[in-house]
Amino acid sequence: MLTPPELVWLIAAVAKGDEAAFERLYAATRAKLFGVVLRILRRQDLAEEVIQEAYVRIWNNAGQFNPGVSSPITWMTSIARNRAIDVIRKRGEVSIEEEPTAMDVAADNPDPLARREMTEELKRLLECVGRLEPDRQKLVLLAYYNGWSREQLAEKFSAPVNTVKTWLRRSMMDIRECLGLA
């Protein structure tokens, strides 16, 4: 993995249409982005489509990347993840019974290397998530890591969808406040 400054430099070059820089950027980031979208989509073919779209979008929008607001890898994974969520929402619901592998909480198998390299930003966010009640923590992490819908979460937590919606909203408001954004 390249260092963040190297990635920033590559994105700046990509914004000017540098194809060689784009290839290096792809090589340095593809496995991370693919891991993120595959976790949500759970289907190789869909994940491959989304990853292609994500890199086309990264190419088109490289000029909009602002290193003052986000780190390069954060910016790129966010683009890929949002495309994955778009796709899974448009495909409609898949019951969790059909997806036995989706039953585990995401953070059960974090990238062990990444855990050692956990950044201050991640510690800060996890601290804020950690202030929620244990069930709400699980709710938020399942939604984020696995891309579950309110309906899937309602099934998992045996609660009405509207209740889940309220929990999600309240939890996100609490996290925003804890992060100093409210």
Binding site: A31, I40, I85, Y144
Partner: protein
Amino acid sequence: MAYSEDHIALAAEYVLGTLDATERAQAEVMMAADADFKALVEVLDQKFAVLNQMVGSVEPRDEIWEKIRAAFGLAGAQQPLVLPCDSSAPVAPEAPTVAAAEKSADASNVVALSQETRRWRSVARVASALAAALLVLFGIQLAQPDWLPESLRPKPRVKIVQVQAPAAPSHAQYVAALRKDGGGPAFILTVDASTWDFTVRKIDAPPEQGKSYELWLISDKLGAPRSLGVVGESDFTARPVLASYDPGIVKDATYAVTVEPQGGAPNGKPTSAPVYTGKLIETVPAPSR
């Protein structure tokens, strides 16, 4: 700008990913039209995106890079976008693979005229479905005058036209997100119903070498698509053209963007199939205002 708790919750749940498809589309249109709302989403999005540090990496197959490369050869170019005819299908159609797109690009040289016509008709149906999905929650940001001057600032070479910063509108404002099937908004079209001036803001469309984007009005009542001129040469285009059409037609029409030879379609008729399409929806003030 101060946002209601509903707006903040929409932004937060967009980041978390728990909005349904319609709500996500609403949030995306709001982001495209309102820089402050976009910033609200992005700040939280970047805070959460660090969670992905914990997700394990998975190598994609080598072919993926080749497909991405191929997509650039085509990116936004004139390959016809074959739109699905059945717009009522609840499940989004699979995006055509790049290979398929290449094939259809080749085939387009011999495409039959009737097929072209059919495609234009199907565009109207698809666009209706999209507009229905986009209902109105996000109204007032689009009417906020403050995004107009801001979007003008970075690009002094705006081609046309008097832009009047709209006063806080007491009249109807219409907005359409023009998008490729399944994609985010590429252009945002806004129409001021007091003057029928329209503005087109380029959001996410790749630059076209030696080609021009042209905007069309499509209505059953008019027959052939009517050109509303070349758009997207700068980030922002404003023009008084719609006043000559019946308001009912303007409101119900489908708006489509095609890729044409530089300067626009030579005979006032589109030479390619629409790439981005959308329908107008009326925007209303958010309940908290």
